[in-house]
């Protein structure tokens, strides 16, 4: 069957079948379940909704979730750029292994990362003990959340910046150098403007991922209300108390935040591919 309005003419068959199945899957798996969130929210009065999403405990959880996710994305942007840089520009032993290791946070189940980090940084752990002697507590504090979020977000920055660095043309740098620019000037004026859109995209992706992260955080966070309680955890707490509308209201807020970020990432990617 042809869908004349939608499709331009092609000799290839199967558009109707492929598109039909695609839309069916999309509707059943993604769209209908997600729209349930909005239907459920619609059963709440505006006032009840507002009270749920602006109670002091929830406000503190926003601060923790957004604040720490932002800090983690910043740390990832800094170290991610360095890692991408050394992987593209330098040679050193075990480079291939280092390159592959960057993807580990993608591949390692978050629960495993969570218990491993919690054990390492616990007061008796390999790193927790020396840090505790310095008076720094990581596990069961907001610092632990930061650590877990840096872990899960790292590959995003490296993997968005790396291909851009690979495609940079060395000629431009040579021209700048022969015109008398110093290395620092070349980096700031020639390289950074070209990398920047990708870096920002990686930052936004890492932030978006960190915002929704659950598995790796809950083991190391300590989960104290108002101190180290993230929004995704608060959603599961409300679910366990059978407060389905409360959980849904928070989920809607988070979902809207994700949509805004997704839109932003799309715009950034367009910008970055134009550069």
């Amino acid at each position: 069957m042809r869908i004349p309005l939608l499709r331009q003419h092609s000799v290839l068959p199967g558009f109707g079948l492929a598109m039909g199945w695609t839309l069916f899957c999309l509707a059943v798996v993604v769209l209908i379940p997600l729209s349930g969130l909005f239907f459920k929210t619609a059963t709440m009065t505006g006032e009840a909704f507002w009270q749920t999403i602006s109670s002091p405990r929830v406000i503190n959880a926003y601060k923790i979730s957004f604040g720490i996710a932002f800090a983690a994305a910043l740390i990832n942007a800094f170290f991610g750029l360095i890692v991408a840089w050394i992987l593209v520009r330098y040679t050193f032993p075990f480079k291939r292994i280092v390159d592959a290791a960057v993807d580990l946070p993608f591949a390692l189940p978050t629960a495993v990362a969570g218990i491993a980090l919690a054990t390492l940084y616990a007061p008796q752990g390999w790193l927790g003990k020396p840090l505790a002697e310095l008076g720094i507590k990581v596990a069961f504090t907001p610092l632990g959340i930061l650590l877990a979020l840096v872990f899960v977000g790292l590959p995003f920055v490296v993997r968005t910046v790396q291909p851009i660095l690979e495609d940079l043309e060395k000629d431009v740098e040579e021209v700048a150098a022969s015109l008398g620019a110093s290395r620092r000037q070349i980096f700031c004026r020639v390289l950074l403007p070209q990398i920047f859109p990708a870096l920002l995209t990686g930052f936004a992706m890492s932030f978006a991922r960190a915002l929704g992260e659950y598995g790796s955080v809950i083991f190391i966070a300590g989960n104290l209300p108002n101190v180290s309680e993230i929004i995704p955890l608060l959603i599961t707490i409300k679910l366990e108390q059978y407060d389905y509308t409360g959980a849904t209201a928070l989920a809607v807020v988070m979902l809207l935040a994700s949509f805004v970020l997704l839109l932003l990432i799309n715009i950034l990617q367009k910008w970055s591919s134009r550069q």
Binding site: T22, L26, I86, A101
Partner: protein, 285 residues
């Protein structure tokens, strides 16, 4: 200025001085060692620190075996489903022109942007006993949430974009000429797909399946919400790790975690191998 001088000026401006290079490598590699290397080794050290016997006992415990079985079942349904979806979506999106394509791509990407906890929550809302559909299901003795179907659904949701996102750019790059030639030479649609398209995309497909499978077996947040945590029945491996850890049974928790870590390492190994050999996937961005 002599020739030698000018080339040395040039080289310090084109490349960083040696101490800067060493410093950057040390910072980058050091960061990765602490952030990734240490947790990785901690898993195996903790799993084995009371010897090999408790390790095996933890892995051979009936609940652990049940978790392995359930994880395999969930992945065995979710991955093929997403392959079927990915093949159809990439065929429709990459081989045809239609309006609203960008919007469709964004919708397919949605599960990447949603918190895993929310992915689980939406199925509770849809099929939980408090909802109309959920009550009807309970009356008819069909269990979806807090049972295996719920785990499968949540896993499909989480891994939904993986295969499609891998195939769409690949198929767009390959264009439609070969398929058009096959059709004009008299092949039917199915023959064209099987003999022309599939061989062209097989490595990309395998790459997508690999990533999809790793995520399906390792997913925690979404399945944790829909599982109900019934030991030996609705616990996948990551959920089993959580239960053991919260019971302070650390050796067993890390033993089970080591299975998942080995899975992740194998995934990375195969992934690097495929990228090296076929240069797919690297062009995702």
């Amino acid at each position: 200025m002599s020739n030698a001088e000018s080339s040395s000026v040039k080289s310090t401006a084109v490349q960083e001085p040696w101490w800067m290079r060493v410093l950057l490598i040390a910072v980058g590699v050091g960061f990765l060692l602490v952030l990734i290397g240490l947790p990785l080794s901690a898993v195996f050290v903790e799993a084995l620190h009371k010897g090999i016997k408790p390790y095996w006992q933890s892995l051979l415990h009936p609940d652990a075996l049940a978790a392995v079985r359930l994880t395999l079942i969930v992945a065995a349904i979710a991955v093929p489903f997403n392959v079927l979806f990915g093949l159809a979506a990439s065929w429709a999106i990459a081989k045809f022109e239609f309006s609203g394509k960008q919007f469709l791509l964004t919708l397919i990407d949605l599960p990447f942007a949603v918190s895993p906890v929310i992915s689980g929550l939406v199925y509770i809302l849809l099929f939980g006993a408090h909802a109309a559909l959920g009550r009807w299901l309970v009356d008819n003795d069909i269990q979806i949430v807090f049972a295996v179907p719920g785990l499968v659904l949540a896993t499909i949701f989480i891994t939904f974009p993986f295969v499609a996102r891998e195939l769409i750019p690949l198929m767009q790059e390959q264009g439609t000429e070969e398929e058009e030639a096959a059709i004009l030479l008299g092949a039917n649609g199915w023959q064209t797909f099987r003999r022309v398209t599939l061989p062209n995309i097989k490595w990309g497909l395998l790459y997508g399946v690999l990533l999809c499978n790793a995520r399906a077996m390792g997913e925690f947040g979404a399945v944790s919400v829909v599982s109900g945590h019934i030991r030996g029945e609705t616990n996948t491996l990551p959920l089993h790790v959580e239960i053991l850890y919260n019971e302070y049974n650390f050796v067993a928790a890390f033993a089970v975690a080591s299975l998942l870590t080995i899975l992740a390492l194998i995934t990375l190994l195969l992934k690097s191998f495929m990228e090296m050999k076929f240069a797919t996937g690297k062009k995702r961005h």
